[in-house]
Symmetry: C2
Subunit: 624 residues, 2 copies
């Protein structure tokens, strides 16, 4: 396949992109961490999700809309979107793993969707027949354009993966219809749940039809007017115009998708207002309103962001979809700026906030991701509101596309895993490299240049923020210490050249900002890219929430190849709080420091929790 | 007025009551703490709430229902209940403070209510005309019987306060109608929002009509069947039969009102199952699911109880109504058992969870009561859902009824304030006493016997649980140390006899159960009945959330007669956390103990916060 064919976002014509993402088909993961998960995603998750869509009426809803079936619409009014997200996951999967059976299944689903499209382009299986009169009558609540956004994303992914236009033409027809209804000079309208904005920009990128970009921009700017399109509701991000927003508020997935749309427009158009807002909102996310895992949206109420530093651990909502939205946004910011801080957030969120959302066997999901639990929170096979499962599937299917980018005379390496890449740099020069790593368990990464020709280029490998610095050695030479950020190595590269990056893998004990009330007197454990937790199953006979760290605690990595598909656990001498003496009391006279006893604790990666027997878990351990 | 005429709950015929509450008219408060609040309640709060009801269409809704007015129903479907709660507050006020103008106004409102009652007894201004067909079609959500419960409580209070039957007859006609619809052998039905249960028992007490008690019992027992009347929803307490419930769950006000109903039935009927459940639920409240203030219902989501120990401080929902419901329930438990622990919870909740719900000027209210805030949470004059304001008003108006009870040969003193009581003990013997106290600021209380005759009786004064013990001296004799609980003094009492109780008023530093995640490394301040907090206005130039206690902190009481209507503030040497060094970071490497600087902190009673300029507040201070 040709390069640039199927990137996660296609920036090949984007005027303000500093980087160009590699295409999925240019990257092959063959590591022991991500690739087995992608195989499960392909072989278990995507098929199981199709079955869920089929058995819950989600596909029948399209058949009903096209008149092939009778009966009521089934499920929630935005259920079309789950089918679209499944189709997007399947499309991404086809981009790296061609599969004629899946290809046919997908075409059959696309046909059902096509048959449900109305002559004028309208397409939403809920607003048919008895509800046809209600079309566009409640843009705020009914997710009509949100569903369309997922259709468009799926169609674009399908086009890029397969080259076929059967899905793309549906998307174009639908968006042409939107342009007629909501385009310049027409009705001001946008969706209460953002999503279509970024989808329209991608459709523009795929088709170069300027109408789609214009419509995306109109929808980006529809919010925050006086009076507001949604009564200036902050829940709907209608409290301020995008360019004046400084805090992430309201429904977390919506605001983060809105930021994706803003970044996508900023990649295409000269808009300092957008860029400034994106920077402010990113600071809101990373400096005040996200968990140490990268998870965002702390409130159950309204699935929303809390105030600054409002980050409760047991009631962390941290919807899996919000983490995925953050990865998508940070990936866009990375390409807009070329700055490593966005890749840092992307990596952290991917490992510690997206990955917990799916079980090791690939068929159960978390919607909420608490950082402390008493053993009651368990993954489920599906949800009535099933946004998260296919969102995880599409991200895993598209994951190779997040690893590498190119820029003028540079190759960027964002993420680490044993893999190979066949990139196009400069004016069509091929640049091939392979990565060898045992990431995230080990910090040594070896890059090997693979192409036969000599290529003068700067290789920019990300030294993660969590590492602080790293050692880099070229062709076995003396290692040099380089700070966090993209370590630039400019050279004429030829086959067999190697770069060895050694990231420090010492266990880190971290604390939270003093205004995070629930983190007072607590610390969290990081090793490399991973946040750890203690889980009851590894610490039997004690109350997991009594497990504490002390200032003397030194945790050591122990590879457990047979545990949880092979993980590095951390073991070391901590302490056990004495929670006796509390019989029947909720409050008592303060005792300066409770008795503790030494305790050898075992910690596991947070992403892996709740894959064994139910039991308590905690990320932020008390400091004894 | 005769005794036993207008108690808060009339247990004069209740077979299982250990205590009989004094009537409101038997008790006169003339202290400097509660009585000025009751005067404001009478002169400002109750009139202002009438104006709110009148200007928001709440009274017009009755006029519409009776055909006197045209137009749409105004406001929320359960707005009738606010008018009823206002009427109950006004009735209680008339019981202690006769006022012909208020009496007339109340009668005019009662007439509007009477005119809205339908020939069959039905009465709910929302379910009229176009919605008549929907009556009883959605008992789960539409609060139809909940509204009726508030009508009944108001009518009973009015009857007891004024002797008039114009309101009571409406209540009887309505409940006779309910008996015909939902009585034995008829449709099984109860309300999704409990309230009518306890009201029916009170109506039974007032009328001795057994049907009302039978209906209350039917409604108490309607929940928790298989299948459930409300789909076994825990939010609606339909997950288990009342007698099998062990945890407070779901909507807090509902569950606590349900417990009031259970206690009321248990006071009338031999039901070990109810008593056991009440005991288990009370343990759930006091040992696992309430704040140090007595506040209950920690979750914004569903205004509900959280799991055990789920008690976040900044996101404490702790609805004012839930605190009031807890006071009402504990008052009933106190009379069922005669045990001081219930009076302890009642006192704590009254001072620290109910009282914060109203501003010092009596016209602004908190719906939620956070224990930590950044200065954004402020009281409001009214709410769309205005349950809390008239709930506070009815409690303050009825407060004298919570102070004293009698039992066979005993007089119980539950609460302390300068006051006088004219009680009836034994077979009609008058027993009069006065209290002189500067409570809650000072711990010395002097009781003086006032009646002319000699009365052989046991005086039982509550030594609060927070005190641990107290010293008691009779007639100036040697003080004796007695433990917490009701201190029993048996004697032939005559005019001029005195009892001096000295409660220890040392400042207490308290800690929370280790599983309250947000209280780790924090402590709260209590002095006497009051929980304290730090508020920005008293601690200028620093971040209130940085104010810490140390193990050396000694706080001293300082009377400030001109501050916040006269309070005792606490001052002492604490510490100030150094939250510098966090610029732009949300997480960082753990630093064993941050630098602190000495800081002289000022704490004020939690109930008094947010009555001055807006600013941060915190109850649980970090321990430096």
């Amino acid at each position: 396949m040709s390069s640039r064919k199927n990137p996660v976002i296609d920036l090949s014509h984007s005027r303000y992109a500093k980087l160009q993402p590699a295409a999925l088909s240019e990257v092959t993961l063959n590591d022991d961490f991500w690739q087995p998960r992608r195989v499960i995603n392909r072989d278990k998750t995507i098929p199981a999700q199709y079955t869920q869509c089929a058995t819950t009426g989600r596909i029948d809803n399209f058949r009903r809309a096209s008149g092939k079936m009778q009966g009521d619409f089934q499920g929630i009014f935005f259920n079309d979107s789950d089918v679209y997200k499944w189709a997007e996951a399947a499309s991404f999967s086809l981009a790296t793993d061609p599969d004629s059976e899946l290809d046919s299944l997908l075409d059959s689903v696309i046909q059902e969707i096509a048959d449900a499209q109305q002559p004028d382009g309208y397409l939403n299986s809920y607003f048919m027949f008895e509800r046809e009169k209600d079309r566009y009558s409640n843009l705020k609540d009914m997710h009509e354009l949100y569903c369309a956004g997922h259709l468009v994303q799926a169609a674009v992914a399908h086009h890029r993966a397969t080259g076929k236009t059967n899905f793309l033409s549906i998307a174009c027809k639908l968006c042409d219809h939107f342009y007629n209804v909501f385009g310049p000079g027409k009705r001001a309208g946008t969706c209460g749940h953002e999503e279509l904005e970024m989808a329209l920009v991608e459709l523009y990128r795929d088709t170069q039809n300027e109408n789609y970009l214009a419509l995306a921009e109109l929808m980006m700017d529809a919010r925050g007017k006086r009076p507001g399109i949604f009564q200036n509701s902050a829940y709907h991000q209608d409290h301020l115009p995008f360019t004046e927003q400084t805090d992430l508020v309201g429904h977390a997935v919506r605001h983060l998708y809105y930021c994706c749309g803003g970044a996508d427009v900023a990649l295409e158009k000269d808009s300092a207002g957008y860029v400034n807002a994106l920077e402010a909102l990113w600071k809101s996310l990373t400096k005040r309103r996200s968990y140490i895992t990268g998870g965002a949206g702390s409130r159950y109420e309204g699935e929303s962001f809390g105030k600054d530093y409002e980050l409760p651990n047991d009631r962390a909502y941290t919807e899996t979809c919000a983490a995925i939205a953050s990865v998508m946004w940070n990936f866009r910011m990375l390409h807009l700026t070329g700055e490593a801080r966005f890749a840092d957030v992307m990596e952290n969120t991917l490992y510690n906030a997206v990955l917990p959302g799916i079980s090791l066997d690939g068929v159960q999901y978390f919607y909420e991701n608490p950082l402390a639990d008493r053993g009651e929170h368990r993954r489920q096979e599906w949800f009535g509101c099933a946004c998260c499962p296919p969102n995880v599937a599409r991200l895993l299917a598209s994951l190779p596309g997040y690893f590498y980018s190119v820029a003028q005379d540079s190759v960027y390496i964002h993420l680490y895993a044993t893999s190979s890449a066949r990139l196009t740099v400069g004016n069509g020069t091929e640049f091939r490299l392979s990565q060898s790593a045992n990431y995230p368990w080990d910090g040594v990464i070896t890059l090997t240049i693979e192409q036969d020709t000599e290529v003068a280029i700067t290789l920019r490998s990300r030294i993660p923020g969590w590492a602080g610095s790293a050692k880099i050695a070229v062709n076995g030479g003396e290692a040099e210490t380089v700070p966090a950020g993209y370590a630039a190595l400019t050279r004429v590269w030829k086959a067999g050249d190697t770069v060895q990056i050694s990231l420090p893998m010492e266990v880190q004990i971290l604390e939270g900002h003093p205004q995070i009330l629930g983190n007072r007197g607590r610390a969290a454990i990081r090793r490399g890219a991973l946040i750890y937790c203690v889980e009851a199953v590894d610490n039997s006979g004690v109350d997991t929430w009594d497990i504490a760290l002390t200032s003397d605690t030194r945790l050591s990595p122990v590879l457990e190849p047979n545990l949880l598909n092979g993980i590095v656990v951390l073991k070391g001498e901590g302490a056990l709080l004495d929670s006796s003496g509390w019989e029947g009391r909720l409050y008592r006279a303060y005792t300066p420091s409770g008795e503790t006893t030494p305790y050898t604790l075992t910690a596991v990666p947070y992403y892996s929790w709740a894959n064994r027997e139910a039991g308590a878990m905690q990320v932020w351990l008390p400091m004894a």
